[in-house]
Each structure stands twice: as C-alpha cells, then as structure tokens.
Subunit: 254 residues, 2 copies
C-alpha cells in the first residue's frame, strides 16, 4: 500500500491537543482526512443526530498536510458523514482519539471515541480508538507516538477486520511503559455521587460525578494491566449478544 | 415478593404513548417509579450529561398509582439519578420502553431504550428494554401486554442477573404473533443516505436518513425471527470484549 487513506476523528473536539497530536503521527503514515466535532462530545457514546441537520465544513487549523472537516454532530455522525458524503473511497483504516482520559473498563460504553471506531468497524473498516490516562488539556502525548505508529502500521499491513480499544498510561519518567498487552474489558462500575446545587432560579440541579470501582481481579483485565504500566489493547465486538446466557433465558420465553 | 419495586424509563420521553402503556401494564405487577426524559432522547445510546446540570422534578401526568419524575437528561442519566438520588432502595427490576420502533439488529447500539436497561444491569439489576416495530406516535400497543407481563413476572421470579432486548412485531389481525423466541443480535448495518439541503443562511446542512441492510441469514437472528412474527428476546452483554479475536490481535502488540 503506497499511501493508505486514514479517516480520523475524536470526541474531545477538533481543536483538542490529543487529536492534533494524533494527526501529526498519522501524517507520517498516510493520507489523513479528519472529520471531527466542533465541540466536546465526551461521553456521547454511540449517539447520532436525528432531530436536527448536521453542519460540516472544510477547515484549515494548522500547516499539516491533512485535510480537515469540522462537524456539528457526534463522533458517530462524523464517521457516517465521512463515509457517505466526504470520502470518495473507503478508508483503509479509521482512527479515533487520542482521548484525554481513560476508556478502559466500563468507560468504553460511554465513550464517543471508541463508538466512532465501532461505527467504522460496522462498515468493515479496521479501526482503533486511542486514549491517554490523563484528563488534562495540556497532557503530554509524546510517549504515545511509538505505540500508535506500531499499531497503525501493523493493522494496515494485516488488514484484520477488527476494532481495538487502546489505552495508554500517563507518562512517568520514573516508571517507563512495559510494552503492549492484549486485554479484556475489566469488570467495573461507576458509583454515582451527584452533586446537588440550587441554581439561580431556586431550582434543584444535579451534576454528575462519581467514583469508578474496579471489580476485576484477573491479570489480563485492561484496568489491571494499565495499573502495571502496560498499554492495553482490547478487541471490541459490536454484537452485544450475551451468548452464554442464551440457554438460561429460554425458560423465560416458553 | 409482595410488591416488587419497578424502575421505569424510556428514550421517547415521558409523554410517549409507549411509556404510558408500559406504566399501565406494570402498575398491575408492582410499585412503579418512573424517571424519564422530558423530551425525545432517541438514538442517544449510552450518552451521559457531563457538561451541564440535570434537572429532575416530581410530576403527575395521569391518575395511575405510579410515582413519576421528569428529567432533563438522557435515558442513562435517568437511571443513574434514580439509583443515586430518587430511590431509597435498589429496584427489583428495571424496565425501559416501550420504544416506538425496532431495536433489533444493530439498532441496539444506537438505542437509548436499551442503553438504560444496560446501565441498570451494570448495577446488577435485572433489566429489559421493550420495543415495538412501529414508529407511529399512535401505534397500537395492546398486544404487547401479554408478553411484557409474562417476561416481567418471570424475570422477577427467577431474579436472573440479565439485560434483555425485547422486540415485538407490529400488530396485524391477520397474522397473529407466534410466540417468544430467544435470539441473537442480527448482523446488519445502516447504509447512510444523508439528505443535503441548503438552509436559510445559504449553508449546507445534512439530515441523517438511511436504509437498514440485514446481513444475517441464520434462523435465530432477531431480525429474521421478527420477520416470521415472533417476539424476540436477546440477552445483552455489557462486556464488549471480542473474545474470539484476542489471539489474532496478539501479533499486533509484540
């Protein structure tokens, strides 16, 4: 493949440093087309826009060789619009991120970053969502280059029809990353602790906060491998059928 | 169990006929608490509200014995708020719907109805999302009673820790429903066909439309069983790990 076509999006918005960094990395690998949200679409999961039109325009943000489009929709809208209206051929790969913050464990379900990658995989495009375990807007992404480059080049080469959720530990000069490991989604849950405030009009308003509780003690869970300073790679299935439960459920339907 | 506590939500909004019908059915089974969106949240998937506060107030809509709360958030926000701020004990079951329109096959990924049920199951609450294969606002829900009552009573009895995506064919007096079947999520995809229009300001705007393409020929796929006039019940897994791909992916990480 001479110059692979790489479709890029994210959920933190087109100006997010994580996306800008990703574009720089991918410009070295192929022809990059960015279709990304005009604002943060964090935790928008697989939401799509049905009740209003989506706006999408070409934009130049920096001097990189990528082509960019700014879009009023969700990350999944961006992928749908790119495939249907922007690209004139199917991309060789779709890459989403780099998300500011973890998408390991149950976070994957809420993630717009990973949902965009899942959407691409529904159209049989190999895809990856990358996330850094650092929420900060000025997070250091420099150590991600090695892993993103390796995985992208290898996935382009093997053309495996898969969707990968990749999480990368925060940089720590004293604790180098140990390598990459294939993992499974850690079992865990967010325990909500809504903050209740009275707004200016005297009404009650609830701000969603919460605490993540890991429930997985297995060695190969993404949460636990990230704690040990590995980059984790979880293959994602868009078939949600819980196969193991099929027989148990039969008694309910008789 | 004397009077089970039943948490109810939907994604079409608290005034949707599908939800009103569901409440009527469930009032015969237990103590119903409704926490539902104040507007349509269709296709909001597992989205949650992080960038603004959520408003939630008690409301009386009809003369039923249920307690109801109207909420400015997504279906998943409704479940989180209910569990954290509204209910004083864990519900025995969580039921979402009845959705106006199919959530079979890949629709499940976009569905706010099913996402709410998945959220409950993350908290170990047996849950079901019900959908009728009729988008119409004045759809006839009368034939759903039998199936919803049976499944709810049986799930309450068995206390199986599961999340079920239940789809019910549209009523057709000449073609009675053949029964309920456990199914798997049909393989399929939406092929987008954005409608492009020029808005009042002269800008391009894209409206998402599309066509569903079924790719599953197996007898036990939900799409195919619905075509044969069965009610389909698919157990849903919130662990998205694609287990079968784990070995294939290992080569990418070495």
């Amino acid at each position: 493949m001479n110059s692979p076509l790489i479709l890029v999006t994210n959920d933190d918005g087109i100006y997010a440093p994580g996306l800008r960094h990703l574009i720089e990395i991918l410009n070295n690998i192929g022809k990059v087309i960015v279709v990304a949200p005009d604002k943060s679409q964090s935790a928008q999961s697989h939401a799509i826009t049905l009740d209003k039109p989506i706006r999408c325009e070409k934009i130049i943000i920096d001097k990189g060789k990528q082509l960019e489009f700014i879009c009023s929709g969700t990350p999944v809208d961006c992928i749908k619009l790119a495939l249907s209206k922007i690209l004139d051929k199917k991309p060789d790969i779709c890459i989403s991120g780099i998300n500011h913050g973890s998408n390991a464990s149950v976070n994957v379900i809420y993630s717009g970053t990973v949902a965009a990658a899942i959407e691409a995989s529904l159209h049989n495009i190999p895809s990856m969502g990358f996330s850094l375990l650092d929420h900060s807007v000025d997070a250091d992404f420099s150590h991600t280059n090695e892993f993103i480059t390796k995985l992208t080049e290898r996935l382009l080469k093997t053309k495996l029809n898969c969707c990968l959720n990749v999480n990368i530990p925060k940089i720590n000069k004293n604790k180098p990353i140990k390598g990459m490991k294939v993992a499974h989604q850690s079992s865990g849950v967010w325990i909500e602790e809504f903050e209740e405030r009275i707004d200016l009009e005297g009404d009650r308003a609830f701000w969603l906060t919460g605490k993540f509780v890991n429930k997985d003690i297995s060695e190969n869970s993404d949460h636990n491998l990230l704690e040990k300073n590995f980059v984790t790679v979880v293959p994602i299935n868009h078939d949600l059928t819980f196969g193991e439960q099929i027989d148990n459920i039969k008694a309910l339907t008789r």
